[in-house]
């Protein structure tokens, strides 16, 4: 099918094509003109997602989800909002509506719900792409009514969103109230227990006091350790002095004993000399001998004394150790008792603290919810108020006529081509060879107009001249 053929077919079947085109376009236009006019009023609300909630002071997590906007649209188109509109605009009072209701339902069911359903059927709410604006539009034959309904819906929706926030807040409020009371009672009880315990123990335990006692205990134990060392030392010396008096360093180091020993040695040496010189019974020897014996007895008694003093000091040390140990034990018992009391008190104190914390949390939520329950504003704001439209939204005459024109054109073409397919005629010279497989000899033009060529007389130089009077000189 070449373009040339198409043109030829259209030229041949122009009447059918034109009549089809005119018929379809005419019927479309007529139908468009005859259909009742519908007006669409539209308004919009913006759902404020980005800014933080005025009461909670932060962006709510659920708001950012894509389902949030759909939820809002569902709320807007819900029967609750529609019934609110019916109440606000007092549509239930109109006589016409009541008659319609009787006709359609026979007076069965809830009239107000029926009106609300009627409103919802022509209401359209759709989200704008990529933003948080919801467009609300309503179709009605009456432009004023359509605008009023859209505005009514926006208003009722705003009221409903506020209600949806405040109602649960009120409910929570009462819940929080009761639980706060309980928690307060708990706190009081815990505090009472703590103070009673403290009174019973008769002391106020604090960490400072405990630290002092502990330090004292440590000091005592340190003292005991050093004293025990001293006692051991003195014990060992005493033992040495008792067993080997002549070798004990304490006895040897005593100057008196040393002097006495020297004296003894000297006297004995003299005695030896006198013996040798005078014999045994010389008076001098006898004198000397008694001196030496005196000295020796003195020395012995001195040694005993020194050893005795060592044992005394040892005894003193031992008794001091015993005393210290007793006081240490006492101190240790005291500290343990203190620790025990302190732990019990700490348990009670913790009870008090946790009760306090629970109470604080509930109280802060209580304040929030009481604020919310009194809120008059949600995060939804009316953006555009609907105005009564001046141009009907449907039927769109221009669009319909254009579309009808295109459709009519297509239908006319299809019809003509279908007819041509059904009854194919010879249309163009170029068809001959492919269709018949014959060479084209040429074409004989139409001789409908009888036209005489003006070319030849011109070519032969013959023009119709004027009749001239000839001179009579024949």
């Amino acid at each position: 099918m070449t373009f040339e053929q198409l043109i030829a077919i259209l030229r041949a079947r122009w009447l059918i094509a034109l009549s089809t085109f005119v018929l379809i376009l005419g019927s479309v236009t007529t139908a468009t003109l005859l259909t009742p006019k519908t007006y669409t009023a539209s308004g919009s609300v913006v759902v404020d997602i980005k800014s933080p909630d005025p009461i909670a002071g932060m962006v709510l997590a659920g708001v950012a989800q894509p389902s949030f906007l759909m939820t809002q649209i569902d709320i807007l188109t819900s029967s609750r909002v529609a019934q609110q509109v019916v109440r606000n605009l007092r549509l239930a009072e109109s006589k016409v509506m009541q008659e319609n209701w009787r006709e359609s339902t026979g007076g069965i069911g809830d009239f107000q719900a029926w009106v609300a359903q009627l409103l919802r059927s022509s209401l359209e709410a759709r989200p704008s792409r990529g933003s948080n604006v919801i467009y609300v539009s309503y179709k009605s034959p009456d432009p004023q009514f359509a605008a009023a309904i859209v505005n009514g819906f926006i208003r009722a929706y705003l009221e409903t969103t506020v209600e949806l926030r405040t109602d649960p807040a009120k409910l929570f409020n009462s819940q929080f109230d009761t639980s706060a009371k309980e928690l307060k009672a708990n706190l009081l009880e815990a505090q009472t227990r703590l103070s009673t315990f403290q009174q019973q123990q008769g002391l106020v335990i604090n960490d400072e006091r405990f630290d002092v006692e502990t330090a004292r205990l440590n000091e005592l134990s340190a003292q005991l350790v050093s004293l025990q060392a001293v006692a051991a030392d003195s014990g060992s010396r005493q033992a040495a002095a008792m067993t080997r008096t002549d070798q004990s360093p304490d006895i040897i180091a005593n100057p008196l004993i040393a002097g006495l020993k020297g004296d003894v040695v000297r006297q004995e040496a003299q005695l030896q000399q006198f013996r040798a010189k005078y014999g045994e019974n010389h008076p001098q020897v006898i004198e000397l001998r008694s001196n030496v014996n005196d000295l020796r007895s003195k020395l012995e008694s001195e040694v005993r004394r020194v050893a005795g003093s060592l044992s005394v000091s040892n005894t003193v040390n031992a008794s001091r150790v015993a005393q210290l140990r007793a006081s240490l034990e006492e101190q240790r018992a005291k500290v343990l008792k203190l620790k025990n009391i302190r732990d019990q008190a700490a348990v009670l104190q913790r009870e008090v603290d946790s009760a306090q914390r629970a109470l604080d949390g509930v109280v802060s939520r209580l304040q929030n919810s009481s604020l919310e329950s009194m809120a008059q504003q949600s995060n939804v704001v009316a953006l555009e108020v609907a105005k009564a439209p001046s141009v009907p939204s449907s039927p769109r005459l221009f669009t319909n006529v254009m579309l009808g024109g295109v459709g009519a054109l297509v239908a006319a073409l299809a019809l003509v081509l279908g007819l041509e397919l059904h009854d194919r005629r010879l249309r163009t010279l170029s068809e001959i060879e492919p269709v018949l497989g014959l060479q084209l000899l040429g074409s004989i033009p139409s001789f409908k107009k009888h036209e005489e060529s003006r070319d030849l007389p011109k070519r032969l130089g013959l023009r119709r001249g004027d009749m001239k009077a000839l001179p009579n000189n024949a």
Binding site: R425, G437, P457, L460, A474
Partner: protein, 282 residues
């Protein structure tokens, strides 16, 4: 002007046909000498004849026969004879040339040409008649046979008696004067269809038709055969088969393609030399 010995002078022809007197001829000659123009222009300038008459007279001088304008003695359909100088007529001359170069070439295998088409109303008779006139304006003799035994029209077109004609010959009757000359066109002869026969297909099947064609081909230089529409029966195919050459006609915007294709397929099957297809734009 020098008049040829054989050919009559323009003044002579005008005097014979347009009724110019000798005085008028002399006047024209004098005028011609005085103004230094051609005789025809002088006659026209003096208002003794119209330019068309002069052209016709010239055509007579040049042996180019056509029907004089003033008389309109021939049917309007014969455009080649009535208005030979119209530009549209060139189409017929062109077609004539193509046929002479092709299927109707002079030689041993010269064949009569059957003019066939699928549907009635395609303009077979119109084209056959005018093509015959175009051939007749050549030297040699041209015969047009009206083999459309179903609804013959050519005798009306040329204004001759319908019978006796072809049907009589095929039926075996000896008919005198079946081939009829056509007025104003001295080289053209017509064999009309004759009496309406009830059995045209059977008549055409006879060998007599083939013999007749061969005999006529010996006597005439160009033989054209008009046929009934192929949708009316096998006549056209039979005639084409007898002739051995055919030209298919389709009418632009009217002819249905399917019957045409069938016709061509049949012609191809019977080994007929097809000159080609002609499109009638009427």
């Amino acid at each position: 002007m020098d008049a040829n010995v054989q050919d009559p002078s323009l003044g002579e022809i005008l005097r014979r046909t347009k009724g110019l007197t000798g005085e008028q001829v002399d006047q024209a000659l004098e005028y011609q000498r005085a103004h230094g123009i051609r005789f025809g222009e002088a006659v026209v300038a003096l208002g003794m004849a119209r330019p068309e008459d002069i052209i016709w007279a010239l055509s007579q001088q040049f042996h180019y026969p056509y029907a004089p304008v003033s008389e309109r003695s021939l049917n309007d359909e014969l455009v080649v004879a009535n208005s030979p100088f119209s530009e549209n007529i060139e189409a017929f001359r062109d077609l004539r040339t193509q046929l002479l170069m092709g299927v109707m070439a002079e030689g041993d295998n010269r064949r009569p040409l059957a003019i066939v088409s699928a549907n009635s109303g395609d303009g077979k008779s119109f084209i056959a008649a005018n093509l015959a006139v175009a051939f007749s304006q050549l030297p040699g003799r041209t015969l047009l046979i009206d083999a459309d035994l179903r609804s013959p029209r050519l005798h009306e077109v040329f204004g001759v008696e319908a019978s006796p004609g072809l049907s009589g010959i095929l039926a075996g009757r000896t008919e005198p004067n079946v081939i009829k000359p056509v007025g104003h066109l001295p080289n053209l002869y017509l064999l009309p269809a004759g009496v309406q026969a009830p059995n045209p297909a059977e008549l055409l099947h006879r060998a007599a038709f083939s013999l007749l064609l061969r005999e006529l081909l010996a006597k005439f230089d160009h033989v054209l055969v008009d046929t009934p529409a192929a949708t009316h029966g096998p006549d056209a195919r039979i005639i084409a088969a007898h002739c051995g050459a055919a030209m298919v006609i389709g009418r632009k915007g009217e002819s249905r393609v399917k019957p045409m294709q069938e016709l061509v397929a049949h012609l191809n099957k019977s080994k007929i030399h097809i000159a080609g297809a002609l499109v009638n734009e009427y």
